[in-house]
């Protein structure tokens, strides 16, 4: 008599055989004690395993898991490995921008130098340069798909809270040392803070906008802030922010230097 092979019997247990095979095997098992014993041994093993309880982490272990993950993230602030300089959801990310623009040294962030749009010049001569630099940055494209209208309120509140709300520029800002000619600044001497400019620009835009990125730049020789926002024209809370507003504003009065560009 031909015996069933073990793999067939195991598949039979899992109903992984055709109806025709199933009938044949059942017939065989009725008359073959050896195969029947094997089938029942396999079933016992499967059942014994299935009766094992689910083992979950206990409360201390659950705590340890969270601690380990958060600790790892603290040591490597940007998990995915990309150096996002765009305004991130965390306060630490926002501080990074403030640090960069105020050139305060060594706040313990991983990059000591001012973060920048990759490959982007700090000096823009034309609006086209500004647009193509911003649109060409993959991190901006990333930010574009990430947020929804419902995220905007929270982000605006974070920005308001985390950036210094002073209306006069702090002393650190004028000591920026980026080597740029400070043409108009000589007459006035103070520059507006990033927070001030963000707030004043956001107030002047009809739609709720999500601040994505900011960096100091010059535009046609004038010191400026380059500000990038995401927005949507939809009123649906779940609508993705799939459009950009790109602003270049002067640092004295946050006056737009370009015709603000939308995408």
């Amino acid at each position: 008599m031909n015996h069933e092979d073990i793999e067939k019997l195991s598949a039979f247990l899992d109903h992984q055989v055709s109806d025709e095979e199933r009938r044949r095997i059942e017939g065989h098992l009725e008359s073959c004690p050896e195969c029947a014993a094997i089938r029942s041994a396999l079933a016992r093993a499967a059942g014994a395993l299935a009766s094992l309880p689910q083992v979950n982490p206990d409360p201390d272990e659950a705590r340890a898991i969270r601690t380990a993950i958060l600790e790892r993230r603290r040591r490597r602030p940007v998990f995915a490995g990309a150096r996002l300089w765009a305004l991130s959801g965390s306060i630490a990310g926002l501080l990074l921008i403030t640090v960069a623009v105020a050139v305060v040294r060594d706040r313990g962030v991983e990059r000591a130098s001012a973060p920048a749009l990759v490959g982007a010049p700090a000096d823009f001569a034309t609006e086209e340069e500004v647009r193509s630099t911003v649109l060409g940055d993959p991190r901006i494209q990333d930010g574009l798909r990430r947020y929804r209208l419902s995220d905007v309120g929270e982000r605006q509140a974070q920005v308001a809270q985390a950036l210094a709300p002073e209306d006069e520029a702090p002393a650190a800002e004028s000591a920026e040392g980026d080597g740029q000619p400070q043409a108009q600044d000589q007459t006035r001497g103070t520059q507006r803070s990033l927070a001030f400019c963000l707030r004043s620009v956001m107030r002047s835009i009809t739609y709720p906008v999500m601040p994505l990125a900011a960096r100091p730049a010059t535009f046609k020789g004038q010191v400026a802030w380059l500000l990038v926002f995401a927005y949507t024209t939809s009123t649906d809370e779940d609508a993705p922010l799939d459009r950009l507003q790109i602003w270049v504003v002067d640092r004295l009065e946050c006056f737009p230097l370009n015709i603000q560009s939308r995408s």
């Binding site: 395993l49 009766s51 982490p57």
Partner: protein, 191 residues
């Protein structure tokens, strides 16, 4: 409240929310959904709680580090099982000897002493079968995966899944003292 909002979110979105933005509410929801299955699998593969804990931490840290390379073409849990299996197999290679289950009975609520003793016996027997067979068995019997899901999670063909499950059950039956599960029966087939 953000946790409620996150509870409807897809796993991939939660991973991104934590990996890119440090959203700890998203992390919490993700862990509540999945830490049990990761830890449970690791526990059955490695045989003791401390090793299962280490493996679980490693799996989630890897998950966030690799957030970008997950393309969403497999189910999220399949990918999670793949990570867990790989982490556990690496741990066993480093350990380079059979897993040592804890000698004490695991404290299990609502179980009689007899049941707990049987669980221990099965756990010991499971620890003695080869890791390849143990892996597919645990995924099948404890995590309830289909043959296809196991094939995807482990990265092997379905035929190999069937074969390992069969041999694994046979070997486990032998370790549990089933007289019909004689090794010679298996080797007779292999000829």
């Amino acid at each position: 409240m953000r946790i409620e909002r996150h509870e409807q979110a897809r796993d991939e979105a939660l991973v991104r929310a934590f990996a890119a933005d440090g959203d700890t509410d998203a992390l919490e929801v993700l862990l509540r959904r999945h830490e049990g299955r990761v830890y449970g699998l690791a526990y059955r593969l490695l045989g003791n709680r401390p090793d299962a804990l280490d493996a679980t931490q490693e799996v989630f840290i890897l998950l966030f580090r690799k957030a970008r390379s997950f393309r969403g073409d497999a189910a999220f849990t399949t990918w999670l099982y793949r990570l867990t299996t790989n982490v556990c197999h690496d741990a066993l290679r480093r350990r380079a000897r059979a897993p040592q289950p804890s000698a004490r009975l695991e404290a299990e609520a609502g179980v009689t002493f007899d049941e707990a003793a049987e669980h221990l016996e099965v756990t010991d027997a499971l620890a003695r079968i080869p890791i390849d067979q143990r892996t597919v068995l645990v995924l099948r019997e404890l995590q309830g995966l289909s043959y296809e899901e196991i094939a995807e999670a482990v990265g092997i063909p379905i035929g190999t899944v069937k074969s390992r499950i069969a041999r694994g059950r046979f070997a486990l039956a032998g370790e549990l003292g089933e007289p019909a599960a004689r090794p010679e029966r298996l080797s007779r087939e292999d000829q």
